[in-house]
Amino acid sequence: MDWFQRIVLTALVVVIGATGWMLIDHELHAKSSAAHTTDPAMKLQQHYAELQRKNARIFAKIIALKESGKYDAAMNRLKTLMAKHGDNAYGYVLLARLEYAQGSLTNALHAYRKAVELDPDYVDKTTPLFIGTEIMDVITKSRGKINRERKLKPGDPKIRAAVNDIYYLQRRIAGGCE
């Protein structure tokens, strides 16, 4: 080993040592400050709990009206609220439930689709928001009627859209890497 190699090797050891020391020091500080907050899984659970509390607060009157069977009043109130909270996926879940309760299957399916598009957590089994079973139940109950209407009115855009919504929801509930 000549003098050049000795100098380069010494410099390399110093640079690697300094990098390692800085990284370990940085991570130890970052970990200790992160320890004061919460771990990501816990944070996520808190987020869902907060989201559910917020939704229950925003939509409390609509839920009460639905439970007492006043669907028209609930629907009117929901539409007003959704004009204000248009990006709230839970609004579409409630809309789907109201539409379904009133027998409007195609509208219910479309509202479920909008909810899933806005927040895929509704079909994610790893989250507490998962309503895949509820959606599959609606699909199972709707399929017969929609298939009959499809045969009676071939080419009807509303029925075609409902069939597309069913396929979309089935694919999302099936899972996969998406």
Partner: protein, 355 residues
């Protein structure tokens, strides 16, 4: 090594790849995505904050296992050769477009086989597209289209991607604050890490020894009628089918298939791009990752292109979802095909194979 031995090892690799992938799904990986290079790279890109989709952010140990398994076997069998310098920028961009093509279909060629084996009929159009793309690639080769010849490079070039894989493994265990591990969506779905890394190492090692490649198998069949690797591809399909049946993951049909869409034309065209580009750069995404472990610097550059492709597929929505392909994804597929055509025009050598 005798021809019979190579034949056997390609089939064994195929059996391990197909069966292992379905088992990984059974043990926790996303459905039909036990092994999917494009999904894994999208996850890796998210973990490295190259896109912001937390649901797709995770370091898949299988990916690290592929590189390290390949590296160890290549070293052991003295097949670690550091080569490179064959049209690196073109390979980088073809790697990028290959992953964009995969993103429009929603899966790499291995996932395409897994989807078929699980009864997903939406993968039929993609299979036809991949075969058509590879066939087109073989016509290019016959017409004399080939990228520049690779040459030997200093040894350290061949170790860098393996060091990158080891660094990812360190990140996987130490979980530094700058790496994202998603807690929901596909990121939250994974087999136990011990199984994942063992599967990666074993399949990676066998894939290095056999040279198994999905597009390479089809290419060899078209180009010279050679069936060794193709039998490995068939073994992948058969073993995935059997394990899907046994583990209750076989659901035949066109509708309700996980991570799929019904836009068959774009599935076909996207996989034409994947087949054609993979033939030009000599290997599907899986093969590119395996080749990085054996010192192939061109494959390493392609893999970094694939990583960037995975990042922009999610970050710029150049992909498909269950609702169908996004507009950007369609444009990306057409741009990729245009690039392949431009390469064909520029890299045609008059002394190429002709019939």
């Amino acid at each position: 090594m005798s021809l019979k031995k190579i034949f056997d090892i390609a089939i064994i690799t195929g059996l391990l790849l197909g069966g292992g992938s379905v088992l990984l799904s059974y043990l926790g990986n996303p459905v039909n995505s036990g092994i999917c290079l494009s999904c894994f790279l999208e996850n890796l890109a998210g973990a490295m904050k190259l896109h912001n989709e937390v649901r797709m952010s995770y370091i898949r140990p299988e990916l690290i296992g592929f590189v390290l398994g390949s590296f160890l076997v290549a070293k052991k069998t003295k097949r670690f050769r550091v080569t490179g310098g064959s049209s690196p920028v073109i390979r980088f961009f073809l790697g990028l477009f290959i992953i964009l093509g995969c993103a429009v279909f929603i899966g790499c060629p291995i996932k395409m086989i897994l989807r078929l084996a699980a009864g997903d009929l939406t993968a039929v159009a993609a299979t036809a597209g991949l075969v058509a793309g590879v066939w087109l690639g073989t016509r290019y080769i016959r017409a004399g289209v080939a990228l520049d010849r690779a040459g030997h490079l200093p040894a350290m070039n061949g170790y860098l991607f393996t060091i990158f894989a080891i660094l990812l493994l360190v990140f996987f265990f130490l979980k530094p604050t700058f790496i994202v591990f998603g807690q929901k969506g596909p990121a939250a779905l994974h087999a136990p890490w011990t199984v994942a890394i063992a599967a990666g190492l074993i399949i990676g090692g066998f894939a290095q020894a056999s040279g198994l490649c999905i597009t390479g198998g089809i290419r060899n069949l078209f180009l010279v009628g050679e069936k060794t690797l193709f039998m490995g591809v068939i073994a992948t399909l058969v073993s995935a089918f059997i394990v899907s049946l046994v583990t209750g993951q076989f659901h035949p049909g066109l509708h309700g298939q996980p991570a799929s869409h019904l836009d068959h034309f774009w599935s076909f065209l996207a996989m034409v791009l994947v087949g054609l580009a993979s033939t030009i750069i000599d290997g599907c995404p899986f093969r590119q990752i395996i080749k990085t472990g054996q010192g192939d610097v061109d494959a390493a550059i392609t893999s970094f292109g694939m990583l960037l492709g995975a990042a922009i597929a999610v970050g710029w929505s150049l992909r498909a979802t269950s609702a169908g392909p996004e507009f950007g994804g369609k444009i990306a597929v057409l741009a990729g095909l245009a690039m392949c055509l431009i390469i064909a025009l520029n890299y045609r050598r008059p002394q190429g194979l002709r019939r």
